[in-house]
């Protein structure tokens, strides 16, 4: 059913001067989905979210939320969504309760609805203890909770959250992600983050953007299996203590089917290596044979399919490399886009980060 598509971005582009912040970003999010929106800093996550929430207008393209166009029905779009901007900017002179009442009254909630909803969100966001406090007295974690509370106050069908967990402690994060999963069943949640483990625990699907483009969009399992590469973790110990890491690396690299070998930090006499295979055939027999042959003591041999982090890094590695470089982008980076040398929403010069 087409009206199940709650967020539909079609070919969104945003150009700042000569800098192309977004380049034909298209994706869809359906009802009942919690989607992770991933990408390095400056990839265009916040810009996309600001367009979807009608704070910015795209230079080209358009988007529909719950079937409403962001240009034609900007007010209705905003009635349908709850939004938490990055770093939860709130009026710090208001108390938590006053802030919620302010948001609710701009959302036209009447008093009894507001009290009912306020009770729920205060419970969900754990704000009961600070309800009467001024927001400026609160820690960042609490401010973020208040930001969440105002996004939830009207029980919106669509939630757009820009790094909602960045200031939460691990317990709060886990709690919050649980809650997201719960409400995500009959709502639509788009959640940006750099924290991949969060995506793994809360989202069914991820959209990865890099340099203003969608570079991957799919279910997590699908994304993980993308490159077909497999990694092995090998931990060995030499009883005699005379083993050199470089010898082991060489021996491992010589095994047919091995693409790269990398030594990992290890403790005591044991050494840990990460081996990646060139294809998805199983290399464990060859590796264990090698270990036996050499007389090393095997502590661990594990086969991992690729993690989301690998996919993320593989897809966005150009960004990181480019950020460290001052000169013109080289051919291997990206030769078609000379204009996106400045790569951040804030148009910070690459030099600033180098």
């Amino acid at each position: 059913m087409s009206n199940d598509v709650m967020i539909a971005a079609s070919e969104l582009s945003k150009v700042y001067g000569t800098f192309r912040a977004l380049d034909k970003v298209s994706f869809e999010v359906r009802r009942g989905e919690v989607v992770g929106f991933l990408g390095p800093n400056g990839a265009g996550k916040s810009t996309t979210m600001r367009i979807l929430t009608c704070f910015l207008a795209p230079s080209a393209g358009t988007a529909k939320l719950n079937g409403l166009d962001i240009f034609d029905s900007s007010l209705e779009v905003r009635q349908n969504l709850g939004y938490l901007p990055q770093r939860a900017p709130l009026y710090t002179e208001l108390s938590v309760f006053e802030y919620l009442r302010f948001a609710a009254s701009l959302r036209q909630l009447d008093r009894s609805t507001f009290m009912k909803r306020a009770k729920t969100v205060v419970e969900v966001c754990g704000l009961a203890q600070v309800l009467g406090k001024e927001i400026r007295q609160l820690s960042h974690g609490y401010r973020q909770r208040v930001g969440l509370a105002q996004a939830l106050i009207h029980d919106p069908p669509i939630l757009i959250l820009d790094e909602p967990t960045s200031d939460l402690d691990p317990n709060e994060k886990a709690e919050f992600l649980d809650y997201l999963k719960q409400i995500g069943r009959d709502r639509t949640v788009l959640l940006s983050t750099h924290n991949l483990s969060e995506v793994e625990s809360a989202c069914g699907r991820a959209i990865i953007v890099s340099r203003g483009r969608v570079v991957a969009d799919g279910m997590l399992g699908e994304l993980r299996g993308r490159s077909g590469k497999v990694r092995y973790t090998l931990t060995i110990e030499d009883p005699k203590g005379a083993l050199r890491a470089s010898d082991v690396s060489e021996a491992l690299a010589a095994v047919s089917g091995v693409a790269t070998v990398e030594q990992k930090p290890s403790q005591g006499k044991s050494m840990t290596f990460e081996v990646s295979g060139a294809d998805d055939s199983d290399l464990r027999p060859q590796i264990s044979q090698l270990v036996l042959q050499k007389g090393w003591m095997l502590l661990e041999l594990r086969r991992d399919s690729q993690t989301l982090e690998d996919v993320f890094r593989a897809l966005t590695v150009g960004d990181a490399r480019r950020n460290r470089k001052l000169g013109a982008p080289s051919a291997e980076d990206d030769d078609e886009d000379e204009d996106d040398e400045e790569d951040d929403d804030d148009t910070a010069a690459p030099a600033a980060r180098a």
Binding site: T53, C54, A57, F71, E76, R78, Q79, L81, P85, L106
Partner: protein, 283 residues
């Protein structure tokens, strides 16, 4: 008589920016079957929060305090003070008031309005609530004007204390006082609107304060040059200057051209602020 006029004109003025505003086409949001009727409720909510934050920070107290002190000082100290001239008149107050409104009050109450919200990012959260940009501008304008009203009402303490209770220093002709207040109100409408505009084009409230203060005091001070410049040059200055527009009110004359002039300035800069807020989308 003039008292009645004041109140009548007041309500007209308060509605004027509103009605003009709705006639401004908003290209990004064609008004297609909006489900939300309460334009004014949102304006009041935004204005209310604005006023709340004035009294929470020192802004309100500082602006009101400095202005009342300056007006009092000008009236009661110096060679031409109330005591020396020995006449039952509030003219001295209305000599000082325009300078305070343009130099301190309007810049002071508007400097944070939009600039600070842009800097701290709260604007993003405000605008992504279902509010129209025009509601934001008007709410902030009315919030700022409310504070100016508090100030003007506060300054009424002077004539009341001097001529009604507890002292009776003479028989005051209240006509020029009310028309003076009407002039001060009109001047505030224009000044606050200009201040709001300058606050909307910067992220720095200090910058907003000084640009507003310089340009408004500049516009007022043009009135000094009027007599020394003959011919059309002087006419132009007299046309533009806040001071020459304001002075007749302090003498008890209500000049319709001045009313139109101040309201036009107010409306032009409200529309400009609206455009400036809207421009965030496209830049």
């Amino acid at each position: 008589m003039s008292a009645i006029m004041t109140t009548e004109t007041n309500t007209d003025l308060l509605e004027a920016p509103d009605s003009t505003h709705t006639s401004v086409p908003a290209p990004a949001t064609p008004s297609r079957a909006l489900t939300k009727p309460s334009f004014f409720a949102n304006v009041v909510t935004i204005a209310g929060r604005e006023v709340r934050s004035y009294f929470d920070s020192l802004t309100a107290y500082v602006v009101i305090g400095i202005t009342l002190l300056a007006v009092g000082g000008w009236m009661f100290a110096g060679d031409a003070s109330f005591w020396k001239t020995d006449r039952a008149t509030m003219v001295r107050m209305f000599e000082m008031l325009p300078w305070m409104i343009t130099g301190i009050v309007a810049p002071g109450v508007t400097m944070r309005s939009i600039a600070e919200e842009k800097r701290s990012g709260t604007l993003e959260l405000l605008i992504t609530l279902p509010v129209r940009d025009s509601e934001v501008i008007l709410g902030k304008y009315i919030g700022a004007m409310s504070l100016v009203l508090v100030l003007l009402v506060g300054s009424l303490l002077y004539p009341v204390a001097m001529f009604v209770w507890p002292w009776k220093l003479g028989v005051l002709d209240w006509g020029p006082v009310w028309s003076g207040y009407l002039g001060a109100l009109l001047l505030s409408f224009a000044s606050v609107s200009v201040g709001l505009f300058f606050s909307s084009i910067t992220e720095n409230q200090i910058v907003a304060f000084f640009i507003t203060s310089f340009s408004l005091v500049g516009l007022t001070a043009l009135g000094w040059a009027v007599e020394s410049i003959p011919g059309w040059g002087g006419d132009v200055l007299a046309f533009v200057s806040f001071l020459t527009r304001f002075q007749p009110f302090a003498r008890g004359q209500i000049d319709i051209r001045a009313v139109v002039y101040f309201l036009s300035i107010a409306i032009i800069f409200l529309v400009a602020s609206f455009r400036s807020l809207e421009s965030r989308k496209w830049s």
